[in-house]
């Protein structure tokens, strides 16, 4: 009986000590962030959603080879006959008139992506054509949407196939933490 009372009083005393610890925290500023009304901005090295710039890409395929999950696929633009090159306006031509290899289409399957950053490290272009933005809010509602496709002229987030009609279109309802993702 005596032991029991001792134990209860000791437990009670220790609970009070524990409550003292929690009481001290009560008067500290809250550390909770009220997401989605408040948002933290990640640090510059954060590996978020991949952004891709079709204008800067030289279609070298280094990212395809670096990726451990084989989520990237691309097709180079078809070579253009010489005479057409001079006349047509849309084709990329370097100052010497040599054709620069450019991208026809470029896809990333986010369903398999590890967000590891190896593709970004492998990209040889000076301003990275493919880089991890700070966006952490990507949401995919269908499996098809997870494969993003870029063509020249698309924005940094690419297009996804709609299951309803099979057309590629810009991804609706996607919130981005920053409109212009940092480029490393």
């Amino acid at each position: 009986m005596k032991n029991y009372i001792l134990f209860v009083s000791e437990a009670f005393w220790n609970t009070l000590k524990g409550l003292w610890v929690t009481l001290k925290v009560l008067f500290l500023p809250a550390i909770t962030v009220q997401y989605p009304t408040e948002k933290l901005v990640p640090y510059p090295r954060f590996r978020g959603m991949l952004a891709y710039d079709a204008e800067a890409c030289i279609a070298c395929g280094m990212c395809v080879r670096a990726c451990p999950s084989k989520c990237i696929a691309l097709a180079k633009a078809m070579p253009v006959p010489q005479q057409e090159l001079c006349s047509s306006s849309g084709q990329p031509v370097s100052p010497e008139g040599k054709r620069v290899p450019k991208i026809e289409w470029y896809t990333i399957d986010y369903g398999r992506c590890n967000f590891c950053g190896l593709c970004e490290e492998a990209c040889p272009t000076k301003t990275k054509a493919l880089w991890h933005s700070l966006d952490f809010e990507a949401v995919f509602s269908t499996r098809e949407e997870m494969t993003r496709r870029w063509k020249r002229g698309d924005d940094l987030w690419g297009t996804a196939r709609r299951s309803a009609d099979g057309q590629f279109s810009a991804v609706a309802d996607q919130i981005h933490i920053q409109d212009v993702p940092v480029r490393k």
């Binding site: 524990g18 610890v21 451990p68 190896l118």
Partner: protein, 385 residues
């Protein structure tokens, strides 16, 4: 009478599946329990629900791509996995990482150890019915994750330690932030002791439960805090120092009885030691202490020179093991001279730690199963691989 016999209570053994979806198994582990009343007669841990064939996947990737897989083994403490893998591959390819990278490696490993033990502290207290410590543990862990995010961009799966060094030097202000965290963290350990460690209710629930003798622990091949709680002070950081652990000053806490409380408290003490190691590494990075005479850590030198992008180590084999958060983690790499490993074997500490459950759970009360299991701090990603 017939009615009487049909309503009479039957006694006998009963079979219960504990898991695989039980929240206290911390993953997908099934323990097949045979119970007689409240007492467990037989327990069979059944693993394999999270098997992803990672060892085989290594064989289809080159050495820099394989690193990404190691994060997925013990996802609660990914840095030591990167480290063990890189040490094995470096031994295979005879690469020597620069000293600055070695200090950074040790520092991030110890920070991960703190983060991982904090997860243990939080979840173990929830298992034992105390919710507040969980919130405190995750508050501190968040700070470490922020540090890692600043350093390498990942919050859980880092891929920071690379073959030949680390992927990036610390950004501006990182070292100060790290120092601030340690200053904040060290007094918190006392709070944890007040909240949980020496609370008589918690002690009653864990002390003398699931006791493992030193001989038992050794014969079942336990490692890490689970082994040290039983008495033996085997720690790879002391026994076979890797990186710069031989230049650092720290002690290896051990327990006496090998009960759940000892395993718990061993980890709490380890967190304090890890904080000391981080401080020493910070001093070394700032160029003030524990460097060999005449050496300085040149800023920015974080990668060994001449490591090719596609590594082709000469044919051979290498084994490297480290003291990860959960114990002795080893990677065994076999190369046939091609860019992909011929075989990669992982010695995961959790897998070996889970095996002893069948011996010590027998004879426990059902309520203690959760306490014993929680005190082992297993991660199923590493058990099943």
């Amino acid at each position: 009478m017939t009615q009487e016999s049909s309503t009479a209570l039957k006694t006998g053994q009963m079979f219960i599946n504990f898991g695989p979806q039980h929240p206290s198994t911390h993953g997908v582990l099934r323990i097949a329990l045979t119970v007689e009343g409240e007492v467990v007669v037989k327990a069979d841990p059944d693993v394999g629900y999270l098997h992803r064939g990672i060892e085989k996947l290594f064989e289809a990737r080159n050495y820099s791509q394989g690193l990404i897989l190691t994060d997925r083994l013990d996802y609660v403490s990914a840095m030591p996995n990167n480290l063990a893998y890189c040490l094995a591959v470096e031994r295979l390819a005879a690469v020597q990482p620069p000293l600055r990278a070695q200090y950074l490696r040790v520092m991030v490993s110890e920070l991960t150890r703190i983060a991982s033990h904090l997860v243990f502290f939080g979840t173990f207290s929830v298992d034992m019915g105390a919710f507040t410590p969980f919130l405190y543990a995750f508050r501190e862990r968040e700070m470490i994750l922020d540090l890692f995010e600043m350093l390498c961009g990942g919050r859980l799966l880092y891929s920071y330690i690379r073959v030949g060094g680390v992927s990036a030097d610390c950004p501006a202000g990182w070292e100060e932030k790290c120092g601030e965290f340690i200053t904040f963290f060290k007094p918190r350990l006392k709070d944890y002791d007040t909240l949980l460690s020496f609370n008589p209710i918690f002690k009653d629930r864990t002390a003398n439960v699931g006791r493992i003798s030193a001989a038992q622990a050794l014969s079942w091949g336990l490692s890490g805090p689970n082994l040290r709680a039983s008495g033996p002070d085997y720690d790879v950081r002391k026994a076979e120092p890797y990186c710069v652990y031989d230049k650092l000053d720290f002690t290896v806490p051990t327990g006496k009885t090998g009960s759940c409380w000892d395993r718990y408290y061993c980890r709490m003490l380890e967190m304090g030691q890890s904080a000391e190691i981080v401080l020493q590494c910070l001093d070394a990075l700032a160029g003030t202490a524990c460097l060999p005479a005449g050496r300085e850590l040149p800023p920015g030198e974080i990668m060994a020179k001449g490591v090719p992008k596609i590594l082709k180590p000469p044919a051979g084999q290498a084994y490297a093991h480290i003291e990860a958060s959960r114990g002795d983690l080893g990677f065994y790499a076999v190369s046939d001279g091609s860019p992909t490993p011929y075989r990669m074997h992982v010695r995961g500490p959790s897998f070996l730690n889970v095996a002893i459950l069948q011996e010590i759970l027998a004879g426990c009360k059902i309520a203690d199963v959760v306490a014993v299991l929680g005190s082992f701090d297993i991660v199923l990603g590493e058990v099943d691989r």
